[in-house]
């Protein structure tokens, strides 16, 4: 019994090591489809929060969604290591500061609109759901960019 399990494990290991390159490329394409579904879900929640109640004040949050990646695009290169590593550069620290401030704005604008009575609880919940779906998509995007694309083909 034990030798049979060892043989089966060795067989599985050989099969996984010789997985074809195009199959792994299809897996990466599936991850991109997941990213597209997440971003589309966030956009749909954002528009539903405005259109269901015919109240377009929550569209102010879209301004902070545009502002959120701007410091990362302008001041920091496209590498992951500059964002999730300790840095001596003042520009990278200022970038992180501005990103944190913009992220709080995405939560604060629906909260202020709810507190002042402009929107109700339903629109507020959709706004927060939209924000967290976008943040999850960004984290998945950062995670996908970690992988090496040259090992796929």
């Amino acid at each position: 019994m034990l030798s049979w399990q060892k043989k089966f494990a060795a067989y599985l290991e050989l099969e996984m090591a010789e997985l074809p390159g195009y199959f792994r490329y299809c897996l990466n394409t599936g991850k991109l489809v997941l990213l597209g579904i997440l971003v589309s879900g966030g956009v749909v929640l954002q528009i539903l929060a405005c259109a269901l109640y015919n109240n377009w004040w929550p569209m102010l949050t879209a301004i902070t969604y545009v502002l959120l990646p701007m410091p990362l695009l302008f001041l920091v290169g496209s590498g992951r290591s500059s964002l999730f590593s300790e840095s001596d550069s003042s520009w990278v620290n200022a970038t992180k500061f501005l990103t944190g401030a913009s992220a709080v704005g995405s939560i604060a604008i629906p909260a202020i609109l709810k507190h002042s009575g402009v929107i109700g609880w339903g629109a507020f919940a959709m706004e927060l759901s939209s924000f967290f779906v976008f943040v999850f998509a960004i984290l998945c995007y950062i995670r996908i960019n970690d992988e090496d694309d040259y090992s796929s083909l």
Partner: protein, 135 residues
């Protein structure tokens, strides 16, 4: 990866989030206030932000702790003025809170509370940024 490295990585982002939270709390108080908030009530938040900017302009390696030399007295004077500005802004916001709670025609108590919270959050963000960047 220990806790200090995590603090150095995510500390500036946390500082930005706390800073944004402070100013958004104040904006909530201004928007939801039934009475027009005079400009005097804006000053503690502005001075707290200025104080947080002041003591984050200093490079840590320039601070001299030697008991023998004269040291960088201009740097220490700058830090002292930054501390005085932050303390005066916090005291001013507390004074405006007391005024808002006593006077009927003034803005509501939430405006005073939001002013104190704004100063506290802005100064905390300055401290977070100071303790997180390693230079």
């Amino acid at each position: 990866m220990d806790l200090l490295e995590l603090w150095a990585i995510f500390g500036p982002g946390v500082a930005g989030a706390v800073f944004g939270a402070g100013w958004w709390i104040w904006l909530d108080a201004v928007v939801c206030s039934l009475v027009t908030v005079p400009f005097l009530h804006y000053l503690p938040g502005i001075f707290a932000s200025f104080a947080a900017l002041m003591f984050n302009c200093v490079r840590k390696e320039d601070i001299d702790y030697s008991p023998y030399d004269e040291g960088e007295w201009r740097l220490k004077l700058w830090l002292f003025i930054a501390y005085v500005v932050s303390f005066v802004s916090l005291a001013g916001s507390a004074g405006l809170l007391i005024q808002d709670s006593l006077d009927k025609s003034a803005p509501s108590v939430w405006t005073g509370v939001a002013g104190v919270l704004q100063c506290v959050f802005v100064l905390i963000s300055g401290l977070v940024y100071w303790t997180s960047h390693p230079e």
